[in-house]
Symmetry: D2
Subunit: 139 residues, 4 copies
């Protein structure tokens, strides 16, 4: 298992007229969580793209429990529970406010895609090497 | 069952550097589908809010099959399959491109909330009356 | 002079906690105005890009007089007053609400750029031909 | 004069199909610059709103010199050069990339508005006190 924690402050232009962070803007928060989780491994998602691998989202399931408000400092917890299966990698994400309340949680599935052919491909070798230590089976 | 169809053209600022409509921007498309579905009933979602009922999203599950591209004219099919249960209303949404290909589909669950107390409430009478004819049980 | 008029309805996720359309989202509205203005000429901006010409914004000046609100149907008036000078094209934009009130107005300057080299280039021949009839000098 | 510097990393969903940060998303960057500039004074913009003063944008003028790209770490320099005149406050903003290149610069004018009446009001006392030391005339 691999866990990363980021912090993001809610911007004015992300709120809606209810005063809540608009439900769609969480996509950007989840994305930042994933990207910073990868950066912490010592590589950047941009480098993966520059090496010819894209990572589009193929499924997103999110449950909203409490709203986030303007200027809240949100904690984004990003978890890789399972080793990527074939071309797919699945991130678990949890968002918390400053009171430690769980705001929402979700599962985002992405697939490794060749930037040229736009066909599915395997996990890049560099990412595989960085992640493997977190998934060594107990013996 | 109640079905509505809208059309939305993909804006430049909604695409990302892959050239795809960014996965989070579909929240706006799904929202437009729901809002126009309600408007077709003869009421507007804004009126519901002005009467003191909010409708925040509590769950969203979306599966992405194919990307939408810049300037694509997207057909948004919004379906109410089931009568709202207590405070929750569940919309099924399907997006198609101009070739009729299914781009993605999702289920969005929203709850009726009192604008003052921000507590769950029942479906507003005006919306109930407009929707009922589509859910009359066959006898 | 060349004038085009579009209509756009304000989405929930474009409003902010003041209840106003967030000042940055007007960029998408101005963009739609420009794109539809070009489409009315018989070509699409996407085609221009597919032919290798990009049109990034190099300057934007907007004055906000009144807010737009959720669900407002906005009229976007896009005006080309002057023939493009060298690589630059300048659009004047005015937004009106359903009461005909001027909400904001702005000037957006874009430059024709070669998609490969990302260097300035001249106005594409196809766009030039379509626009010229609107700028024929009276004799 | 009062100067503040923030840093913001470009998110994937803020880029467009040119690979550039979309010109409208800079509104969020400029906003973060202003908000963090105020926070550095020891008050938060949210507090000002909670005390009944809104600060909508009434004019924005931005010149784009170079694009920002995905994952760039952008430096946002926010400058108050002049003491607020009547109800208006004017921020100068400059954005730089990691190479120190000026990407764009702009002037944003906002007005203090009473949250209840939505009429112009004067600068809140708390903000006035925090800012005054930076604008004491040399004698």
């Amino acid at each position: 298992m691999y866990i990363h924690t980021s912090q993001i402050r809610v911007r004015y232009g992300e709120t809606d007229r209810m005063g809540y962070l608009y439900y769609g803007f969480y996509a950007w928060y989840y994305e930042v969580g994933r990207v910073e989780a990868i950066r912490q491994l010592g590589i950047s998602y941009r480098e993966l793209e520059d090496q010819g691998v894209l990572l589009p989202v193929v499924e997103w399931h999110i449950q909203y429990f409490k709203p986030a408000y303007y200027d809240d400092l949100i904690t984004v917890k990003t978890i890789l529970k399972d080793w990527p299966i074939r071309s797919a990698i699945r991130f678990h994400t949890e968002l918390y406010n400053e009171q430690g309340e769980l705001l929402n949680k979700g599962i985002t599935t992405l697939v490794f895609v060749d930037a040229q052919t736009r066909k599915k491909t395997v996990i890049p070798q560099i990412l595989r090497e960085k992640l493997e230590p977190y998934f060594i089976p107990a013996t």
